[in-house]
């Protein structure tokens, strides 16, 4: 009796296994990786904030594959081999996509046949340059300085600065949503965009930790997504 049950189970298992193999095609196995860059420098953004779309034509109804860009401007997508079109929707990030010189089109065509590393060039409204962070261990105040470079100066496309903020967080996900303290300079309070200084106090952290992560964010007027400096770990 027992052996019969065992036999039946084995047959069922083999049947399942066999049918699985026959019915399915292999999973996507090809990586498309890279960074969002301006002149080779990555664009730092907020987490879960900036996405772009990949469209793969030729498979019936078209639906986009949304790819989310990491904080440090890198991205990664595991895909099937094939041809893709890469598009940034309007307002996708603190930048505008670069247009092809010949066609004036901002769609990027990708022929993905093997793992591929591709940096995507975009045109940010501003870049945060020379971000420096330091901490005064006696009064636990984090000081940061940076300069802001206006990249898009075209009178139609240019956007104003809304504010600059310094955020500190317990983990290396750093922006307004995770910050434990922050300080904001409105546009009107900024005298010199080449020399911006921000100071913020580290509040008491429970449970105690002797490090925080900091970065500077820039809000551009009428652009939903912010641009950031790199994240800096600060020990105190």
């Amino acid at each position: 009796m027992k052996s019969q049950v065992l036999l039946l189970l084995t047959i069922a298992l083999i049947a399942c296994d066999a049918s699985c193999k026959k019915d399915n095609y292999s999973p996507p196995d090809t990586y498309l990786k890279g960074r969002i860059v301006y002149e080779g420098e990555p664009i730092n953004v907020a987490y879960n904030d900036v996405t772009f779309q990949l469209w793969q034509p030729g498979w019936g109804k078209l639906t986009p594959i949304n790819v989310t860009v990491n904080q440090d401007g890198s991205y990664s997508a595991l895909l099937f081999k094939g041809n893709y079109k890469l598009v940034f929707p309007d307002g996708a990030g603190p930048f505008i996509p670069t247009k092809d010189k010949d066609t004036g089109n901002d769609t990027i065509y990708i022929n993905l046949q093997s793992n591929m590393q591709m940096d995507i060039d975009v045109l940010p409204y501003y870049m945060i340059r020379n971000a420096r962070f330091s901490v005064n261990t006696t009064d636990s105040i984090v000081s940061a300085s940076c300069s802001i470079e206006k990249i898009i100066t075209d009178s139609i496309l240019e956007k104003d600065i809304e504010y600059v903020s310094l955020y500190i967080s317990k983990t290396n996900w750093v922006d307004g949503r995770t910050s434990i303290n922050s300080v904001t300079l409105q546009k009107s309070e900024i005298n010199d965009i080449n020399n911006i200084e921000l100071k913020v106090k580290i509040p008491s952290i429970i449970p105690t930790q002797h490090y925080v992560f900091a970065r500077i964010g820039l809000k551009i007027k009428n652009v939903g997504k912010m641009i950031f400096s790199n994240v800096q770990e600060i020990d105190f």
Binding site: N48, T63, R177
Partner: protein, 630 residues
């Protein structure tokens, strides 16, 4: 032997088939009318049958937050969902872009079909013109729903038929301008109102009053998108498919004000004032009283034994529940509760601690802290120490000793032995609040608005037949006040606001100089809480991405400000002082808390202002464009 048997059987079957076929041709079997559905000719000769088709169209009116989808009230900052399966509502950060998406062109087609068939029919003239007007009203309503969720949508006013040519591209229509859809709604309602009865006793079908109220709201929405859209120019699409030019704002505001004034001056409706002796109960009864209610304009109605809601079953206080395991789903937030003004027209957060000494303030009675506030507070929310169905609710979080030790329980009404005693006594309320315990309050409050005190309304098998009010006179007054304010008519704005505020117990009228945008926003927030207006209001004012900005901000101390972030839900827990023999024993202190279940701050992104059009819809119709910032 066997083969002959088979042959014989086959022969028999052949004869049978032949006979069947022969009988078909004789009795016309294939041309007989079906017995399980009604045909066009049958429906459109009988007013009662046509009315039942219309009934189906009424039933399909889209809703978001309502009595049958009470859980959606917990999506923002009005209430906390005390139900394990709904905790995700306070544990997510981003609203997906397809939230509030709506693209039901099947419904639009059915309304268009109804209008077409009704026009062609030979129904009695009186029935016909009323049915047509009602269908137009419903068509205006569905386009209003579409435009407030999706922006400009294709305006389809005729039924479309496929001609089987293999090319369906002639059925593809582009999105109309957002303003064109609003203009259509306004014109459609003008035309519908001519065929609708002007009878305020009709609540569940379209009336002249309902058409005016809807026109007023739609024009106000269009006006505010035109005006406040200026602050978010990135929320727009080329061709004004999304976004309305600012130059059109005043025109829409004027339409809204005119419609409101027409309704107000007609005298057909008035504010509910059957219990002037108790304004909180009066406000609560406004939503429950189905007998000659002068304020209610258009409702989704229910009837015992036929169709009822589970709103009362799910939301009744735990200690008074008629259904064992079910109670306490929606817990109004402290964010909302502290927004209700004091009766001297000033705002104040609840004083729990002395800011200088850090000591808790002591209150003799548990409800003292809520005294002297807007009567709508106790009419909307069941507060600690207040009554429901004639019984006092038991909301208190535990004992606190003078050294700050808290003695509390983990189940409703739990008993423990207090220090210095031998017998156990109750250490926490039978209604909570207990952190993380579902089906009881976790903020310290229960909802009163729409909660049905009728016996057995809290039983699953019976349910409540309280109606869901879609339009009421109070909102029309608020619309009139807002439109007046935006047109710079501050005297008129104060006049309309004061009517609402007098009903809420305010003795000092607001002056024209008191009227600000913050005032307008605030009055809607407290008057229309739990009426499904918050999301649409925040969207049209372009405040949603500011108020729900995803940051872990503390509870605001400026409840009068329209643009204060409010991303997480807070609560207010009463503790009883345990200090036997001392004068403070039995007094109350309050703690502002954040329920531990709330672990994320809501973020409304710019791409949420107009919900995502499903990619399948876009793939079917290349003339459509996706909404911005997604």
């Amino acid at each position: 032997m066997k083969i002959r048997y088979i042959h014989a059987t086959l022969g028999l079957i052949c004869i049978l088939i032949y006979n069947t076929l022969a009988s078909c041709t004789k009795d016309n079997l294939l041309n007989q009318n079906p017995t399980n559905i009604l045909l066009n000719d049958q429906v459109w000769t009988d007013p009662n049958l046509a009315f039942s088709v219309l009934g189906d169209l009424y039933d399909r009116v889209p809703e978001y937050q309502e009595l049958e989808q009470y859980w959606n009230f917990a999506d923002f900052d009005e209430a906390f969902p005390s139900n394990y399966g709904d905790y995700w509502r306070v544990q997510h950060q981003d609203y997906d872009y397809n939230w509030w998406s709506y693209w039901d062109y099947g419904y639009v087609r059915d309304i268009n079909l109804f209008i077409q068939k009704c026009r062609e029919s030979n129904l009695p003239t009186a029935d016909k013109s009323r049915f047509l007007a009602e269908a137009q009203f419903l068509r205006a309503n569905v386009y209003f729903e579409l435009v407030k969720r999706m922006g400009g949508v294709p305006l389809l006013l005729d039924t479309m038929e496929y001609n089987f040519s293999g090319d369906a591209s002639y059925l593809q229509h582009p999105r109309a301008k957002e303003s064109e859809v609003y203009d259509f709604i306004i014109n459609e309602l003008d035309s519908a109102s001519q065929g609708l009865p002007n009878d305020p006793s009709i609540k569940s079908r379209a009336t002249w009053g309902a058409a005016l109220a809807m026109k007023c709201r739609a024009a106000l929405f269009a006006g505010s998108i035109a005006k406040h859209g200026l602050t978010t120019p990135e929320v727009s699409l080329p061709g004004e498919v999304v976004g309305i030019p600012a130059s059109m704002a005043n025109r829409y505001y004027r339409i809204a004000l005119t419609a409101a004034e027409e309704l107000i001056n007609s005298g057909e409706y008035s504010l509910y004032m059957k219990h002037p002796e108790d304004l909180s109960t009066n406000f609560a009864d406004l939503f429950l009283d189905k007998n000659n209610n002068p304020e209610v304009i258009w409702v989704k109605d229910y009837k015992l034994r036929y169709r009822t809601t589970q709103f009362t079953v799910q939301n009744q206080p735990h200690s008074l529940t008629e259904e064992g395991a079910w109670s306490g789903f929606l817990n109004p937030s402290l964010n909302l509760v502290q927004s209700y003004e004091k009766l001297d027209n000033t705002f104040d957060t609840f004083a729990t601690k002395d800011p200088n000494t850090g000591q808790y303030f002591l209150y003799d009675n548990i409800n003292d802290i809520f005294k002297g506030r807007d009567a709508r507070l106790a009419g909307t929310v069941i507060l600690p120490g207040s009554q429901f169905k004639g019984r006092t609710v038991d909301i208190w979080a535990g004992y606190i000793t003078p050294d700050g030790t808290i003695i509390s329980g983990s189940s409703f009404g739990q008993q423990k032995v207090l220090p210095g005693e031998t017998n156990p006594s109750q250490v926490v309320g039978f209604d909570g609040p207990i952190d993380g315990l579902e089906h009881g309050t976790q903020t310290g409050f229960y909802i009163r608005k729409y909660l049905d005190p009728t016996p057995s309304a809290g039983q699953i098998g019976t349910g409540s037949d309280v109606w869901w009010i879609r339009y009421r006179y109070g909102e029309v007054l608020l619309n009139a006040a807002e439109a007046s304010y935006e047109l710079g008519l501050l005297d008129s704005a104060a006049y309309f606001l004061n009517q609402i505020r007098t009903r809420a117990g305010f003795k000092i009228p607001l002056k024209a100089s008191d009227i600000t945008f913050d005032r307008i926003v605030h009055e809607r927030k407290v008057e229309l809480a739990f009426e499904g207006q918050e999301l649409w209001d925040m969207k049209r004012w372009r405040l949603a991405h500011i108020v729900w900005n995803g940051e872990n901000v503390p509870l605001t101390d400026k409840p009068w400000k329209a643009d204060e972030p409010s991303t997480r839900i807070f609560g207010l827990w009463p503790y009883r002082i345990y200090d036997p023999g001392k004068p403070d024993d039995g007094k109350w202190i309050f703690k502002k808390v954040i329920p531990s279940v709330v672990n994320q701050a809501h973020r409304f992104r710019l791409g949420n202002y107009y919900s995502q059009i499903d990619p399948n819809v876009l793939a079917n119709n290349p003339k459509l464009i996706q909404n911005p910032n997604q």
